[in-house]
Amino acid sequence: MGRKTLELLTESMFYVLMSLLREDRCGTEMADWVQGRTGGRVRLGPGTLYTILAKFQEENLIRETAVDGRRRTYTLTDEGRRRYLEEVARLRACLSDAEEEGQ
């Protein structure tokens, strides 16, 4: 792919990383988890989901751990966990600024 690094994580990218925080999952499990976690607010279309997985593998944020028939299971790498925590810190800072400024 043309662009070298992901400068910012979009909401769907962020939730895909979050879905792998506690356990390894396959693509459709991630999509279901994200939909459940966000109460249906964030849904991952197939094009979006599998592009994210390809991009994250390329960026070494996730790694494939098993292929069982049609299912491919992924796990978070150390780099993926670091990027996730970095994004959490950024979002916390944004929220803190917003709270200080008031409603």
Partner: protein, 221 residues
């Protein structure tokens, strides 16, 4: 009434949002996409329907899991669309989009964008060669422009080239919009795109008629 309708392609699949918008408009009129042929698109007459059509760069959704997930959400694979894309359709208005994140969709177009830049470079080089071959004899006075019947064909070639470049620009415009987080607009703007595509055909016909007229005017001796 014929059940199968064939239409010449006026909009290239590379002009993605316009091509998708055109297919959706056809479906609303009861012409359902059947397949691409060498010359155009084959439609099947059916009930007017609000079907969403989406292009995806060829080979991106290649795993069996991704194909299963597409089917699960109602996205049916319809086949190859042009050289670079696969076409998917969904008749369910409640189903999520094939791409729910414009920025991620722009990543999906990155590899194709890279390939298109090479094509565009090759096309520009060929055009320069063509121009040099046509204009060199004229500029060095080895041939006079008035005696050069291929000049009309050159004009036609340049028109076709301009259309190709316009299509490429359209692809890169969409990719830039997606990267900025703006979802594609599949409104009626495909009509303008189709108008631009029709222009070289009309110019081509005019050139042909002009050439035939010139031939007819030549003495038979």
């Amino acid at each position: 009434m014929k059940d199968i309708i064939r239409k010449l392609i006026y909009i290239e699949p590379l002009d993605m949002d316009h091509f998708e918008g055109w297919l959706e408009e056809m479906a609303r009129k009861g012409l359902l996409f059947e397949r691409m042929s060498y010359w155009g698109v084959v439609f099947r007459r059916g009930e007017p329907a609000a079907i969403r059509y989406r292009l995806e760069p060829a080979g991106r959704l290649w795993t069996r899991e991704s194909k299963d997930y597409c089917r699960e959400l109602g996205w049916n694979y319809l086949g190859q669309a042009g050289q670079h894309f696969e076409l998917y359709a969904n008749p369910d208005p409640e189903a999520p989009e094939l791409h729910t994140d414009p920025v991620v969709q722009s990543y999906a177009l990155d590899l194709l964008g890279k390939r298109l830049r090479w094509y565009l470079g090759g096309l520009a080089a060929l055009t320069l060669l063509l121009l040099a071959a046509v204009l060199f004899p004229v500029l060095t006075r080895q041939a006079e422009i008035a005696n050069f019947p291929n000049l009309c064909l050159l004009v036609f070639d340049l028109f076709v080239l301009a259309q190709e470049i316009r299509t490429y620009i359209s692809f890169f415009r969409l990719r830039r919009q997606l990267a900025e987080g703006l979802p594609p607009q599949r409104d009626g703007s495909w009509r303008r795109s189709m108008g631009w595509r029709t222009l070289p055909i009309l110019v081509g016909l005019a050139v042909l008629l002009l050439e035939l007229g010139l031939l007819a005017a030549l003495p038979l001796s």
